[in-house]
């Protein structure tokens, strides 16, 4: 066609060497490859309990479209899910439910706590609400906001990508299941109390009133 490739033009006699220009293979670290594959096709398990779930739906829909991050496959079964997204406040009555779902998810798994209520209890500093889902399950990324805008959740997802890409498959500690122990909690009770401490305006409110 009148065109010639300058890279191959002068290599008529290089028949015995392997061409480094071949597009058919690459070298890489196994970690990089694994993490690249994991991070770019996270299957989310949506656990939507409140208004954050509406923002989550907006994030999943066409305008913001988390399919761009390989997350278009909403996994409504925990056994085929990678990332649990708790979108909304978690009452104590749902605590055993999200714990069961988390336990049913196979490793490797991550979780995103979406919104103020899931992360801290938010405005619900009362008798019926879990003060942050990190007292129930381990959390990787907290997304603040009430509710967070889709951009906020996408930023959280990208942070999770970053975290996953920094992991190594040699670190077995990452994949240890943190189960509910004989104390009935997965954390020491003092840690749960500390995580549930009131902050901000709630500090003004005594436990007795």
């Amino acid at each position: 066609m009148g065109l010639s490739n300058p890279a191959t033009e002068n290599r008529a006699d290089e028949t015995t060497t392997v061409s480094t220009m071949s597009p058919n293979w690459v070298t890489s670290r196994l970690d990089f490859l694994t993490n690249w594959a994991r991070a770019n096709s996270l299957w989310p398990m949506p656990f939507g309990t409140a208004c954050c779930a509406i923002e989550y739906m907006a994030t999943a829909a066409s305008r913001f479209d988390i399919a761009r991050f390989g997350m278009e496959r909403q996994s409504f079964s925990p056994r085929q899910a990678d990332v649990l997204i708790c979108a909304g406040r978690l009452p104590f009555k749902l605590a055993p439910v999200i714990r069961r779902i988390w336990d049913q998810m196979p490793q490797p798994k991550w979780s995103i706590s979406m919104g103020a209520c899931a992360s801290t209890g938010g405005i619900f500093d009362n008798y019926s609400m879990v003060q942050g889902i990190d007292t129930i399950i381990p959390v990787d990324v907290y997304v603040p906001g009430c509710p967070p805008r889709p951009e906020g959740l996408m930023y959280g997802i990208l942070l999770l990508h970053k975290k996953i890409k920094g992991e190594t498959i040699a670190d077995e500690g990452l994949r240890v299941e943190k189960l509910v122990g004989p104390s009935g909690l997965y954390l020491p009770p003092e840690r749960v109390d500390e995580l549930s401490e009131p902050f901000g305006n709630s500090v003004q409110q005594t436990r007795s009133s």
């Binding site: 055993p96 879990v130 007292t135 129930i136 909690l185 749960v192």
Partner: protein
């Protein structure tokens, strides 16, 4: 606008001293009825010609900070074809057991409403067919959250609340009928039958 509903005068002539004070608030007539005659009065309001309050809009309760003041159970009645409303209140002395006759036999819709009042205020509805907690889980041990003497964050520490919540076994509290699979029970695998009959436990045996 502040004329009381004619149902009040009719109640007084029918039940006499069992009917307490009444007043009108926001065009709504409120009438107090003695606890012992509450079921009779409500049954009469439902069925008597000229009254026919055939729809029970709501059953709820009010607790006041004043420990001397009685806890009030509120029945919001409506007559669908007369388009008339009446609010009936029953005062319960807080120093005595909080008990009142159930009205589930009059209005089937009172079932869950009375369960909610029981759950939140601890009022026992005598004669209720299935008086269990409905919002909180059934092993909830901290008390009755909407009572004024209930602290906002509950009685227990957060760790204890979390522990009890995780130990609660949601499936065990539903009967097969509630799970709507009673008919299929015989065809389920053996292990699932066993699990459903005793309720599945997580890590806490």
């Amino acid at each position: 606008m502040s004329t009381p509903s004619p149902a009040v005068a009719a109640l007084r002539s029918e039940f006499g001293s069992a009917i307490g004070r009444h007043f009108v608030s926001s065009d709504q007539t409120v009438v107090f009825v003695d606890r012992d005659r509450s079921h009779d009065a409500l049954a009469w309001l439902k069925d008597a010609p000229g009254q026919e309050f055939n729809y029970l809009t709501d059953v709820t309760a009010v607790d006041y900070r004043d420990p001397e003041r009685s806890l009030e159970v509120v029945y919001q009645l409506r007559s669908l074809h007369r388009k008339a409303d009446l609010r009936v209140k029953v005062g319960l002395d807080k120093r005595e057991p909080l008990e009142v006759r159930s009205v589930v036999d009059l209005w089937r819709g009172a079932d869950w409403l009375e369960r909610e009042v029981y759950d939140m205020f601890g009022v026992t509805f005598v004669g209720h067919p299935d008086l269990r907690r409905i919002l909180m889980w059934e092993t909830y041990a901290e008390g009755y959250p909407l009572r004024k003497d209930f602290p906002l964050r509950g009685h227990f520490s957060r760790a204890e609340q979390t522990r009890q919540a995780l130990a609660a076994n949601p499936e065990a509290h539903y009967s097969l009928e509630e799970l709507s699979i009673a008919d299929a029970y015989g065809e389920l695998p053996k292990d699932m039958q066993e699990r459903l009959s005793r309720g599945e436990r997580g890590f806490l045996k």
